[in-house]
Amino acid sequence: MMTVNPCSGDLPGVFGETMPFLCQGAAVTLQSAAGGAALAIVIALVVGLMASSPLRTVRGVARVYMEFFRGTSVLVQLFWLFYAMPILTGYQMDKVFAGVLALGLNLGAYGSEVVRGALQAVPPSQREAAIALNFSPLQRMRYVILPQAFVEMIPPMNNLLIELLKATSLLSVITVADLAYEGRLLVNSGSDQLIVFALMLVIYFVFSYAITLVMRFVERRAARMVGRGKPRRRRATAAVEAAR
């Protein structure tokens, strides 16, 4: 059987006409999502750690950042970065870069809350044991607290990454040629609406499901590292263990 590259335009009829454009858009969507995710994860870790700092001013800075970027819409942040910034500073950002920045800053703020919560969920007795063993504050975080908090972060991070993927469609507003942009262009130039919209639906879903699969894999690995075989059935396993 011959395999057909769905993006090549060799498919019959309307699929052949639209898929090359949708694929181009999908690639841009993936790029912006990946860039935004990388930035969001870095910000989440840094600001989440800052929000758990014993120093009040450091916590304060983190708090202000989190509240500000959670409390204003991505779209408005995008407008500021792309349209308002050049007026104020004279510097015009590349549109994909502005998009990645807005997504990263916004989802990073949500992610910081996830990181902070996960750090707090590690029992204080773990920190005390690490003090008793004379670890430095940095070593306590690096070798004891973070690895345990990491497992807790993954399911909510999965949600955030899917949110981020879908939020990339907002970039079409500043004319980034992503999947949503290409789709609308095709419809405007006369392609069958139902088919184009259906294809867009499928492509977004496939991407977000791929994210879920990757995150589940990471979660299982991480859970095994802290000695929990099956994270979703933690209680049941413990009960079975106890009954033996």
């Binding site: 007795s125 773990q126 005390e128 044991a129 690490a130 003090i131 008793a132 063993l133 004379n134 670890f135 430095s136 504050p137 070593q139 070798y143 004891v144 690895p147 345990q148 590292m225 802290v226 000695g227 929990r228």
Partner: protein, 253 residues
């Protein structure tokens, strides 16, 4: 070795320790007994620098725990000073507190390697010796969650000893164990106590264990020492009514 001088500890409005004075000599083994809430565990937590005194001073081996000298003034201890004094002290907790993100061997070697800079091979060699001592050689690569409470506590003891402390604090180390596992941990601690010159400070509700492990027993009530003496005196002919009442209550339980 350990010197408490007019130590006061308050949590909000609650005064847990009231102007406490006591002294522990090097290699002395002291057990703290008394009703719950009398401040025994707080003493261990102060020594481990998990809490700070409200007022008064604690010295370990001549070094003040909460303050340090800067010029000729005493200022609150910084992290560097705290790590210096913690070197001498180890602690075993009621709930073991093993690190779930490491296997048994790693639990024992991680602190010597990271905090003391011992080469990993050397730390592992030592850890295997310690595991042999606590009779868990076959569990080196097991995960803490695969061990029974008694085994976990024995690993925790090995982990504390791997840091080669001069003072070992035992905070109700058998209270969280199933009854049949208690004696194993106790006899291990008895062996360790007799074969080393560790200074031992032990909080326990097991009076028999207190009797055969300690040189001295301190009876606490309401943040103060009510009676202080060798185990024979405290358990056989206590002078204070409070001690008699307490012993009666625990021994008849």
């Amino acid at each position: 070795m350990i010197q408490f001088d007019k130590v006061v500890k308050r949590f909000g409005d609650v005064t847990v320790l009231r102007e406490l004075d006591f002294h522990v000599k090097p290699a002395e083994r002291v057990t703290l007994i008394g009703p719950s809430g009398s401040g025994k565990t707080t003493i261990l937590r102060l020594l481990m620098t998990l809490e700070r005194v409200t007022s008064g001073t604690i010295e370990v081996d001549g070094q003040c725990l909460s303050h340090m000298k800067r010029g000729d003034r005493m200022v609150p201890a910084d992290e560097k000073h705290l790590r210096q004094v913690r070197k001498k002290i180890g602690m075993v907790f009621q709930q073991f507190n093993l690190f779930p993100n490491m296997n048994v061997l790693r639990n024992i070697t991680e602190a010597p390697v990271r905090a003391l800079g011992v080469p990993r091979e050397q730390a592992e060699e030592k850890a295997r010796d310690l595991l042999e001592m606590v009779e868990l050689s076959d569990k080196a690569l097991a995960h803490p969650s695969q061990l029974s409470g008694g085994q976990q506590q024995r690993v925790a003891i090995a982990r504390a000893l791997a840091m080669e402390p001069e003072v070992l604090l035992l905070d109700e180390v058998t209270s969280a164990l199933d009854p049949e596992l208690v004696s194993g941990v106790q006899s291990l601690l008895r062996d360790i106590a007799r074969s080393s010159n560790l200074t031992l400070l032990c909080v326990t509700h097991e009076m028999n264990f207190a009797r055969d492990i300690s040189h001295r027993v301190l009876m606490f009530d309401q943040g103060q020492i009510v009676e202080d003496g060798p185990p024979e005196q405290i358990f056989n002919e206590p002078e204070q009514q409070r001690t008699r009442d307490f012993l009666q209550a625990v021994l008849n339980a």
